[in-house]
Symmetry: C2
Subunit: 92 residues, 2 copies
């Protein structure tokens, strides 16, 4: 899958990301990958649920993966922090 | 799977739920299901990541499911609200 079909979830309203997913599918994408980390993970699930329940009922959740990323310390000598990640792949 | 092997994620610190998972596995559970909804979803992912990375490396993520639950309106005549859910099944 091409990385250009990824939607990275941040702090904007859910509908912004829903629209991004719909635009990718309407542009011919076979799969769209919704990615988030930390406190944006619940928003990623919201986005996927709105996309498939309200707008694109023929789109299915193909894969869900979770993981951990290590972030560099904020200041020199600090300890790195771990952040959880999710990647939800949608497709026809 | 027996419902008694479910850990429902709420607003407590992550380590409380990590301990609950570990206790179930040490008590002989073959599978433990971590469930959350709404803004607790990111905490559910944190719990699973801490359990399998720090404490029980032989435990794998067997299944991840997401969905939507409809909550009854808070007041009579109100509209029901939708809340996203996640269920992560851990097992050997």
């Amino acid at each position: 899958m091409s990385e250009s079909n990824a939607v990275l979830i941040g702090r904007k309203p859910v509908m912004n990301y829903v629209l991004a997913c719909i635009t990718l599918f309407h542009g011919g994408a076979k799969e769209v990958s919704v990615k988030a980390r930390g406190r944006s993970i619940n928003r990623a699930v919201d986005v996927v649920e709105v996309v498939r329940r309200r707008f694109l009922p023929d789109v299915k959740v193909k894969k869900i993966g979770i993981g951990t990323e290590q972030l560099a310390p904020r200041e020199e000598g600090g300890t790195p922090t771990n952040v959880s990640t999710i990647e939800i792949t949608l497709g026809h």
